[in-house]
């Protein structure tokens, strides 16, 4: 049985997927995960979960909102303001710009193939 292992480095951090272990049950999975994924790394907490308990969304399903231009949803009113006073606003804008760029490229590639 395969158990996926998630490691949290410090309190408050997200648990990040770091790999998996073969183990017959949860106790053994934790025991093995400690050796393989905690011992040599800064670790605040480890999660183990059976692989079959993980729900997956495929690339196709994840792209459901990627077909049309979403720029009308941007917080445009802030664009005239220097966003550097709020890092998260600047980050969010550049993230959205990046996402929009990728969407455009994907659509263009599809167009080329067609």
């Amino acid at each position: 049985m395969i158990w996926e292992v998630f490691r949290q480095e410090a309190p408050g951090d997200y648990h990040e997927h770091v790999g998996n272990v073969h183990a017959p049950d949860r106790e053994m999975a934790k025991l093995f995960a400690r050796i393989q994924h905690a011992r040599r790394m800064q670790t605040n907490s480890l999660w183990v979960t059976p692989r079959e308990e993980i729900g997956e969304v495929s690339a196709e399903d994840a792209a459901f909102d990627g077909r049309t231009d979403k720029s009308y949803r941007w917080a445009m009113t802030y664009n005239e303001i220097d966003a550097s006073f709020a890092e998260e606003v600047a980050d969010s804008e550049s993230e959205q710009r990046e996402a929009a760029r990728k969407r455009r490229e994907a659509l263009r590639d599809e167009g080329n193939e067609a």
Binding site: V21, H22, A23, E27, L31, F32, R34, I35, Q36
Partner: protein, 278 residues
């Protein structure tokens, strides 16, 4: 860990000749047990049942080598060199218990797991018995080792619970128990200088007391897994004692094996267990 401040303990410079001899006997037993146990466990590398259990057992072996290093290091500070502690020491001067030198049967994982359990419980009892030692440099090192031994015991207990979950597995563990039990009792053979070790306070419990504690821990646990624990006073004891330097033939083979490279390469200065000398 203990209430005694280090200023009230014995330092290296305070040791009388008699005290030093007793202390060395105690340290060699601690170190030799860890070293030989680790040496045997490494035989499982690449042969353990799964990749994960392979990594776990190799990791435990590394811990035990690390503990051996701590104890040999205390001996080095008393004037021994590493070759005198390990590579050039006569095999009849080693004072580890017989349990740790026994060879593994081919693929006998039940033996490895059970041996680890019997050893780790004894190890915890022994470390607790030296936690309040009168020798300051030893007291400093016990706490860390105890923490690591917890993982070893957890590992062994988890495996034993699972191996004994069906008749086939339980039969294998029972065979290992019948085989190893007489040798495990040698963990508590007093050996030379036992009275001095206790009298000078290097260890605060006599081995007879530790043996009782060990039996009171392992017997109920093993019986809870539907195993039959041999009657300690009725088992046929091997002629060898371990603690007095007498060992089974398996030890000679193991000793030749792990010292072979040292002799072949004829190092002027052998690789040390410590990266840097203090």
């Amino acid at each position: 860990m203990s209430g005694t401040p280090n200023s009230e303990r014995i330092g290296r410079a305070d040791l009388s000749a008699e005290q030093q001899v007793a202390l060395e006997a105690l340290l060699f037993r601690l170190a030799d047990d860890e070293f030989v146990h680790a040496e045997r466990l490494t035989e499982w590398q690449i042969y353990a049942p799964t990749l994960e259990s392979d990594l776990a057992i190799a990791n435990i072996a590394q811990d035990e080598f690390g503990h051996a290093r701590l104890w040999y290091d205390l001996l080095k500070r008393l004037g021994y060199t590493e070759p005198e502690c390990l590579w050039e020491r006569d095999p009849t001067e080693w004072t580890h218990s017989l349990l740790v030198e026994r060879p593994f049967g081919d693929g006998d994982w039940a033996d490895a797991v059970l041996r680890g359990y019997l050893y780790d419980v004894a190890e915890r009892i022994r470390l607790e018995a030296v936690a309040d030692t009168s020798y300051a440099p030893l007291a400093d090192r016990v706490g860390k080792v105890l923490e690591e031994e917890n993982y070893h015991r957890e590992h062994a207990v988890n495996w034993l619970e699972r191996l004994t979950a069906d008749d086939d597995g339980r039969g294998r563990v029972q065979d290992a128990l019948d085989e190893l039990f007489p040798y495990a009792l040698s963990l508590f053979h007093p050996g030379p200088r036992e009275e001095d070790i206790v009298e000078f306070g290097f260890r605060t419990e006599p081995v007879a007391e530790m043996r009782t504690q060990w039996l009171e821990t392992v017997s109920p646990f093993l019986e809870s897994l539907d195993l039959t624990v041999p009657e300690p006073d009725e088992v046929e004891r091997p002629d060898e004692r371990g603690r007095d330097g007498t060992h089974t033939d398996a030890w000679t083979e193991l000793y030749d094996e792990f010292t072979a490279t040292y002799h072949e390469l004829e190092f002027e200065t052998p690789a040390t267990l410590r990266a840097t000398e203090e």
